[in-house]
């Protein structure tokens, strides 16, 4: 059963939740986190369904924030579900009208569960710097989704500079099964890999991230090739003596092939939104591998990695930032002009948070301790 509160405020919403909970006889909470979803009317229903699925495994309070900017008086309308078929937790849908649409934090803050992590998810239209967003600032984990952006690859390139520990993107989550199968393939003896190619649908940010990850880990140039999809369709790891290939053309079953070996099939189904969200809630600490991957992406794909590694400081070409969409091209990009280097460094020094290549908090702490 849902309760509708029109023209209300946060403390009235809290009171309504509490009344509902007592009515159900469930006084204890046992909830492990607050899950804030900032979204629009268009995607709110699908996002709420995915979050509710995740809440079955992760009892949480789901707060759906739907800003509805416009003229007129500020008004807060709320819908509250507790227990029932909506899952074990609580769901609050908040519609922020008029000037209130820009004051999301003021409504969300009083509704956060005490002393438990906060996760915020923007199913679409994520802020440019999630950690600087008024709701993002309250969260331990900030989930964006580059694939829903109007220009997914440009959006992803933006993430390379806006990254803060705790940020993550569902485009990255989508690569997990691929990464797992590839890692398994390399558990077996293999020859040295000299290059990697990822094929994927046009403008697929997951393909780009997978390539950047391979380039960062294998220290060989990786490129993205366009294919007809769906999603990522294949990876080829080139060795001096044949290829290791993983291909998936139907979005379900993948085939692992070796030039001089056996070919095998492995289930690799495309996952639904709810499964992606569940994976995101599993770990709430900073994803260092994602940070590394973004840093690699910022350096440019297809780059002979050794060269950039030998440079003293991580270098990013301003050209990449300027023409981000080109990262998807199969040809090596990011020609570096030495003249741009000092300028970039200066920017990085001014805004340490801007670069994912900066030392992580962990290494910072280590340094402090050694002093």
């Amino acid at each position: 059963m849902s309760m509708l509160l029109e023209g209300t405020n946060a403390s009235a919403v809290n009171a309504a939740i509490s009344v509902e909970r007592h009515r159900l006889g469930a006084t204890s909470t046992g909830m492990v986190l607050t899950f804030v979803i900032v979204t629009d009317e268009l995607s709110q229903s699908e996002a709420t369904r995915a979050a509710t699925f995740a809440a079955n495994q992760h009892p949480c309070r789901i707060i759906v924030v739907i800003p509805r900017p416009g003229r007129g008086k500020p008004q807060l309308d709320a819908e509250v579900w507790v227990g029932d078929r909506e899952g074990p937790g609580e769901t609050v849908k908040l519609r922020l009208k008029g000037p209130l649409a820009r004051q999301q934090a003021s409504v969300v803050l009083p509704l956060l569960l005490p002393d438990t992590p906060v996760v915020v998810w923007w199913p679409a239209d994520a802020p440019a710097v999630p950690a600087d967003d008024q709701v993002g600032r309250m969260a331990n984990r900030r989930i964006t989704d580059a694939s829903t952006a109007r220009r997914p690859l440009a959006d992803l390139t933006g993430r390379t500079t806006s990254y803060h520990p705790g940020d993550t993107d569902l485009a990255w989550t989508r690569t997990t099964p691929w990464r797992s199968v590839l890692a398994t393939a390399l558990d077996e003896p293999h020859e040295q890999i000299i290059a990697a190619t990822v094929s994927g649908e046009r403008n697929n940010p997951s393909a780009t991230l997978l390539a950047a990850w391979l380039q960062a880990r294998l220290k060989v140039p990786a490129v993205v090739k366009n294919s007809r999809g769906p999603g990522i369709t294949g990876v080829v790891l080139k060795t001096k003596n044949g290829d290791i290939g993983l291909s998936r053309h139907d979005g379900r079953l993948a085939e692992l092939t070796r030039t001089h070996g056996l070919s095998r099939k492995a289930p690799l189904p495309r996952r639904e939104l709810r499964e992606l969200v569940s994976e995101e809630l599993r770990r709430l600490d900073a994803d260092e591998i994602y940070a590394e991957t973004l840093a690699e992406l910022a350096k440019g794909l297809g780059e002979p990695a050794r060269k950039s590694r030998s440079a003293k400081a991580p270098v990013r070409s301003s050209k990449v930032a300027a023409t981000p969409a080109s990262t998807a091209g199969a040809k090596p990009i990011a020609k570096r002009s030495p003249a741009t280097r000092p300028a970039r460094r200066k920017v990085a020094a001014k805004d340490p948070s801007a670069s994912p290549a900066q030392p992580t908090t962990a290494t910072k702490a280590k340094r402090k301790a050694s002093k």
């Binding site: 077996e188 079953l253 289930p267 599993r282 591998i289």
Partner: protein
Amino acid sequence: MAVQQTNPLRDLNDRRLPRVAGPCALVLFGVTGDLSRKKLLPAIYDLANRGLLPPTFALVGFARRDWADQDFAQIAEESVRAHCRTPFHEDVWEQLSSGMRFVAGSFDSDEAFIELAHVLSDLDRVRGTNGNHAFYLSIPPGFFPTVIDKLRTSGLSANDAGSWRRVIVEKPFGHDLKSAQELNKIVDDVFPPGSVFRIDHYLGKETVQNLLAVRFANTMFEPIWNNKYVDHVEITMAEDIGIGSRAGYYDGIGAARDVIQNHLLQLLALTAMEEPVSFNAEQIRLEKEKVFSAIKLPTDLSRHTVRGQYSAGWQGGEPVKGFLEEDGIPKTSKTDTFAAIKLEIDSRRWAGVPFYLRTGKRLGRRVTEIAVVFKRAPHLPFSATDTEELGSNALVIRVQPDEGITIKFGSKVPGTQMEVRDVTMDFAYGDSFTESSPEAYERLILDVLLGEPPLFPRHREVEMSWEILDPILNHWATHGRPDTYEAGTWGPPEADEMLARDGREWRRP
């Protein structure tokens, strides 16, 4: 050819990537048994479905049936569909079943083992299992010597450098110290100790592993985890079912051998052990062995141990037979279906704190729990009537069902009067974390294939636990008959008297 040794795609920090078993083949002896059909095959499918088995994984069934590979795959599919925990996907099944083989033969047939060796080397070639083979003996222990011997003579137990052999055995690990030693010798003669995995499915339960997390990852429990604050510990494993069709196995074995020797003593060790230096197999094993070596039996075994047999009665609203009326049980059977014992641990931490272990069939309900019961507050600044309803504080680890933790403490009853009464605070495991608890067998099978044995008892532990139990079993064998209790109750009245002698009473679990 330049072959790379380490895998650059793996990183400890990359916690999204699951631990996936390497290429290997699992040979299942006794594949037609209940355990295989209801637990093992579904667990293997669930692992595959969660992407935790490599594409190269192969499964070989071995039994005395006139089956072809397809027949086996079909039977396996039926049991997987009936019992799997995760949804059934054709794609996953297709991939898994393409690596399934069946070898028909009896456990003492040389030809069958030659055929098995042939099938395995064939799988190494066409499936890419790389010579890594695990043998799961889901068979009565009477067959162990035969099967192990055949594995040796057929050369299946020997591995080349770079590949491994592992053998998995199920309880019971013998029926007393002597038989356990013989069994261990048979297995250890053929397989090195690190390759022998003794499955105690209780140790694969999330809650049991959580016991170590609760104890050693928090600050608030460990300071009171000793004889200064703990009054006693009760470890209970109760079943509401009878012996069912297991008369042949159960008669002569009984509750103490079936449950206390392995499950309850392992739970006791995990509850009582000191902090291991690190969370690896060797260190945990060392700490558990220290506990076993410090266990002291009561001097008067007739006063501090109780065994019972259920008589006919009503169980949860249904009439049920008594143990002696069960099919296949002789009327004169002295087998215990209920056992309760008191143990003490001679250490600074636990001196004077009794550990009461009890288990039984046809008890009130199905429950397994560890209850750490605390001493009462040394002084209560309330009047006696205010605290009449107040019991002892307790921390209860619920192993099954409803895995989780309950803390019991006193709280004021709302109202004008000062009245303190027991309340409980629950942490329910199943729903507070994102992965619904995997079935214990999934965890254990994966651990075997990964070669990570932190939760498997080693042969020394098995022998030590028999050393603890043997004197009690001998005492029972020479002193009278088991007491009777009505089915559906919490055991014979003698069990309550046993605690009453110490001024305590059992918690109703």
